[in-house]
Symmetry: C2
């Protein structure tokens, strides 16, 4: 965690947000990440997502079984979801989402939005062409040499 | 949407998952994305996240104001959160998350996990070293030449 914190401080000096993350397996660091949203024009480049992507390249797998993440701040819904998809074993965090909110990084509105029904959310969503889209799902279902996850 | 659907079908043939997304602004396509999770060993490479990253590179901004997304399937919580961070105006989708679940792409467990309190989630989380981590947040708060988002 001290490495994640150090990265978060260095990243502020390097033009990024105050967030760092480290992914470790069996007590060994396998990847790190920092927030490069504004620096790289990438709204998905949060510290945890960046660390997940780097760790997966390192282990050459799309799952991070047996890995733990140390994040200098509690994950936002995007990062927490990504950690579920990656299948990490445990999340350690330092600052809380309330600490983040106090410096104007507020993700609580996204947690609220996700808990609403589709038609109640602030970003409207509308279904169309489902009958045409189902074909790709049928192709997937019938494919024999696929990698499921 | 027909382009997103076409991409989803092509992606199955190209070793990816059956998902495609298109981001458009003022009626013009600015970027596309497909699911490359297993192909690229990147659990964050869902169609929408890939399209967001590509669109942001195209417009050279970390926000996608005024953009709409056409996704061949309803976004998972990671992608929906990313769409909130990107600030898109509207989401069109074709297949539903229930359609996805029927071919073993089940994201409903993540929606459920996100709605739980930290200590009730299946991935345990634990706080540590908050007092040390706060320094980076103070550095950010006091920084004058920062880009907020």
């Amino acid at each position: 965690m001290r490495l994640a914190i150090q990265l978060s401080e260095e990243n502020v000096q390097n033009g990024g947000g105050p967030f760092g993350a480290v992914i470790a397996k069996n007590g060994e660091v396998i990847a790190t990440g920092v927030n490069r949203v504004t620096a790289n024009n990438d709204p998905t480049a949060h510290a945890e997502v960046s660390a997940i992507r780097a760790a997966c390249q390192k282990v050459k797998n799309f799952k991070l079984d047996g890995c733990v993440v140390y994040s200098s701040c509690e994950p936002c819904p995007m990062c927490l979801s990504a950690l579920y998809w990656a299948g990490v074993s445990k999340i350690y965090y330092a600052n809380t989402k309330d600490d983040a909110k106090a410096i104007n990084f507020d993700d609580s509105f996204i947690y609220e939005q996700l808990s609403l029904e589709r038609n109640e959310r602030s970003i409207a969503s509308e279904q169309m062409l489902r009958d045409e889209a189902l074909k790709a799902f049928e192709m997937w279902r019938d494919k024999e040499d696929k990698t499921e996850y």
